[in-house]
């Protein structure tokens, strides 16, 4: 027997006597109050017909509780994801760069044949949790819209697509660099694709970014003809809509603020009404179950964006609060998808296609490529020396973006 431990435990018994008594009495009172509250909750559930609901979910396998689980979101500027959020896009991807081996930036629309370049992809992590072991690959496709053919820009010793593994801190970014020898084709024009992946990815929809641009110099009042190949990768006829805008990523700061994400009970009335009006008004009116719809839209709102669980310092046990960065609404408002029509005088026409409110309507047979002839009218009053960016973005019948190109017209003096 260890006398030291015995004496220490003995002294603790007497030292802690009053504390133990107080703690037990406090536990008794707390438990009584807790019981009253539990009975009251049970009564409410009974009245609402939900008395069978259990307070805890018992699970057999090892489900990691949310305060222990870490989920990253490796991502890059992803046109398909952004367009699905109602955000205008450019196909001049800010996260994909091409440089010479000496590190000099090279334009992706004007590359030398049979020459080595670096393709540099910037991968971000849109999460409070570190992204460990993110794989990144880079592929090149024919210039145009929706081509399924993908050729890795670099292969490893075994002939497989080269892969870079990145570890990215919370809200951090890292570079993946690939070495690309361009095909021995004069005036080759390509679309570059950078893709990332992670097994615990919180949002896999923002893992692919494309760089797809062309540049033309033009005098004022001179129509410019661009040929944009459009491939239908499916085994059926498909209808597409091609719309043009002049969106460019604004040179502006976006301010994010950490906010607590509350549940249905703690969401204030103003916010509840706002969410209901935005996301659930029709459903609530249709079904008449406003409370249920409200709960759903509040929960859906809470699931938007990355989250972090924080607790007072030194606290033991459970009981945390959930926080996230607010700012998406302002981001969408500043970059909304229909907010950047061509300025007066500039016009895009696509002969052979009919214009529709959703864009120029194209029907492409399965597995074929159709060369879309795009005429850009440069106005007579265009300012010489300026450059106009025109994004041609193609969507399918459901509104999903299938691809696009960004055309730069440099107005000559």
């Amino acid at each position: 027997m260890n006398v030291h431990h015995f004496l220490r435990l003995l002294s603790l018994q007497f030292q802690g006597l009053v504390e133990n008594l107080v703690a037990s009495l406090r536990a008794l009172i707390n438990n009584l109050l807790h019981l009253l509250r539990a009975w009251f909750s049970w009564l409410l559930r009974l009245l609402r017909g939900r008395w069978r609901e259990e307070r805890y979910e018992h699970v057999d396998c090892l489900e990691i509780p949310p305060d222990i689980n870490r989920r990253p979101d490796p991502c890059l500027y992803s046109q398909t994801f952004l367009a699905a959020q109602g955000i205008a896009v450019t196909w001049n991807n800010p996260d994909i760069r091409l440089t010479t081996l000496a590190g000099i930036p090279a334009p992706t629309h004007e590359i030398e044949a049979d020459t080595e370049y670096f393709v540099i992809g910037t991968i971000h992590n849109a999460s409070f949790d570190a992204a460990i072991g993110v794989s990144v690959r880079c592929a090149v496709r024919p210039w145009g819209i929706d081509f399924s053919q993908r050729t890795p820009v670099e292969v490893d010793a075994a002939g497989n697509p080269a892969q870079r593994i990145l570890h990215i801190g919370p809200w951090g970014e890292a570079l993946a660099t690939f070495r690309w020898r361009t095909p021995n084709v004069e005036r080759g024009h390509y679309c570059l694709t950078v893709e990332c992946a992670h097994p615990a990815d919180r949002e896999p929809n923002n893992n692919v970014g494309q760089e797809n641009t062309d540049v033309r110099r033009s005098s004022v009042a001179t129509p410019q003809l661009f040929t944009v190949p459009f491939f239908n990768r499916r085994e059926r006829f498909r209808e597409f809509f091609i719309r043009a805008d002049e969106y460019q990523i604004p040179d502006k700061r976006v301010e994010l603020e950490l906010e607590q994400i509350t549940g249905v009970r703690n969401t204030d009335v103003g916010r509840r009404n706002e969410l209901l009006a935005t996301y659930g008004r029709f459903e609530a009116e249709w079904t008449g179950r406003e409370e249920e719809i409200l709960k759903r839209v509040v929960e859906r709102d809470a699931l938007r964006g990355a989250r972090i669980r924080l607790a007072p310092k030194g606290r033991r046990g459970r009981g945390y609060r959930v926080f996230g960065y607010r700012g998406r609404t302002a981001l969408i408002a500043d970059n909304r998808i229909n907010g950047f029509p061509l300025t007066e005088g500039w016009a895009v026409t696509i002969p052979g296609l009919t214009e529709h409110p959703a864009g120029w309507h194209a029907v492409i047979p399965p597995g074929t490529t159709q060369d879309i002839q795009v005429i850009v009218d440069v106005p007579a009053d265009a300012t010489p020396g300026t450059t106009k960016a025109i994004n041609l973005t193609a969507t399918d019948q459901l509104g999903g973006v299938v691809g696009g190109v960004t055309i730069y017209v440099e107005v000559e003096a």
């Binding site: 003995l10 802690g16 133990n20 009584l32 489900e63 990691i64 305060d67 398909t80 949790d129 924080l310």
Partner: protein
């Protein structure tokens, strides 16, 4: 504020942490409780005599017994949650492959084991086969077919415990960690004075082959897997809840019993054993009710780790939980301790964060890999296999996890360029 994780225990410094068996086990605790109970009974006898000039020996015995029980339960609880675990180092980072199914222990903790990187389980199996074949005099002839993993596991399982432990120690020391550049997590399986510090090193068992009965840091379960594994626990508090409920009942018993004894002695003038029995009968009913209420409200089974508490206002829980299964490669952070009571297990306890690095074939969360990426989301099951994790990778992973992921303060406000904000738009609400 800081990152949230459930924690109910505190580890004690080497020298302060101890096993119950070390102090004489239940004997020591019982002796302490008897001293405390005797003191409480004596105080009551003295007070009772002063007030009524008589003593009800039934009340004295009852109060003494209740104080004895309370003392015992309190002593046990204090030790279990504050002095059972020996601190080695806080906030450690371990990367490895989950081996064996996770289990729930009696105290509500969820346990799972990992084989430290960069060793896949298949590689470890080869080392066992090689070592047995090279040392038939020490470990016997081995199974008929060494490439049959089940036969190899059965053979090792059938060895004597002493031989089995020697075999594992030799595999760990002579095959796993004798490889330059692959021994970066050796300290979690092999005691190291420099890494553990002298106090922790001296307070733990010898794990070398020189010891007559070596107690390795790693654990073994050849029937499940040949991997020498490191133990990890998500912390729950089922025992704490259970003990709290018992204490509520006992304190109710003691308080009501003392009050009833006082009334009875005042009325009867101290009727020998009568007051004790009457007070006991009435107080037992109250104590049972108090315990029952406490048990209903403070259900011990709610203290099992890894359950999602769907009653609290956490609407975000739904999208943030996931399942891990054997074969998944994980990066973990947690406190490195030695459980003095659990055969001197070395473990991460509590686990504070789990990062999935590579998903096994059997994980139900796995996604279909679609190679055509322009329209479809993409996840990859295992882009970064465990055998490819180098020392440099491990250091970078741990730096990201510990320095950036778990310790860096969360910025209340952030200012981003629009380009960056669009790239991370999915993370913004």
């Amino acid at each position: 504020v800081e990152r949230s994780f459930p924690q109910f225990t505190r580890c004690a410094a080497p020298g302060s942490a101890y096993s119950m068996s070390e102090t004489g086990g239940w004997l020591g605790l019982t002796l302490l409780s008897i001293i405390f109970g005797g003191a409480a009974g004596g105080v009551w006898a003295f007070v009772s005599y002063i007030i009524t000039q008589a003593v009800s020996w039934g009340c004295v015995a009852g109060i003494g017994l209740l104080a004895l029980a309370i003392s015992g339960v309190h002593g046990f609880k204090y030790w279990y949650y504050n002095e059972r675990l020996m601190c080695i180092d806080k906030d450690q980072c371990v990367v490895g492959t989950m081996t064996g199914e996770a289990t729930v222990s009696t105290d509500g903790d969820r346990k799972f084991d990992v084989l430290v990187a960069p060793f896949p389980t298949e590689e470890v199996q080869v080392y066992f086969a090689e070592l047995i074949q090279a040392n038939p005099a020490e470990f016997g002839p081995g199974p008929v077919n060494f490439s049959d993993v089940i036969a190899l596991q059965n053979y090792i399982e059938s060895m004597s415990e002493a031989s089995r432990v020697r075999l594992y120690i030799r595999v760990v020391r002579e095959r796993l960690f004798n490889q330059p550049g692959r021994d970066y997590q050796e300290r979690f399986l092999v005691r190291d004075l420099a890494q553990m510090g002298a106090a922790a090193f001296n307070a733990s068992d010898d794990d070398t082959l020189a010891a007559p009965d070596p107690n390795p840091m790693f654990r073994i379960a050849p029937a499940d897997s040949l991997a020498p594994y490191m133990h990890n626990e998500l912390e729950g508090n089922r025992v704490e809840r259970w003990l709290d409920n018992v204490l509520v009942g006992l304190w109710t018993f003691l308080v009501s019993y003392t009050a009833l004894c006082a009334v009875c002695e005042f009325v009867t003038g101290g009727a020998d054993w009568f007051c004790g029995w009457v007070a006991a009968a009435l107080s037992a009913v109250l104590a049972f009710l108090a315990w029952l209420i406490s048990h209903l409200v403070n259900d011990p089974d709610d203290g099992v780790a890894g359950q999602t508490d769907v009653d609290i206002d956490d609407p975000a829980y739904d999208g943030d939980k996931s399942t891990i299964v054997p074969g998944d490669v994980l990066a973990l952070s947690g406190d490195w301790i030695m459980d003095t009571e659990h055969g001197q297990y070395f473990e991460l306890h509590p686990i504070k964060a789990i990062y999935l690095v590579c998903q096994s074939e059997g994980n139900p969360n796995q996604w279909e890999v679609i190679h055509d990426l322009s329209n479809y989301p993409r996840q990859e099951r295992c882009p970064f296999p465990v055998e490819e994790i180098s020392q440099d990778d491990w250091q970078r992973i741990c730096a990201e996890i510990m320095d950036e992921g778990e310790r860096a303060p969360v910025e209340v406000e952030r200012s981003l360029s629009t380009h960056d904000a669009l790239s991370v738009a999915a993370g913004i609400r």
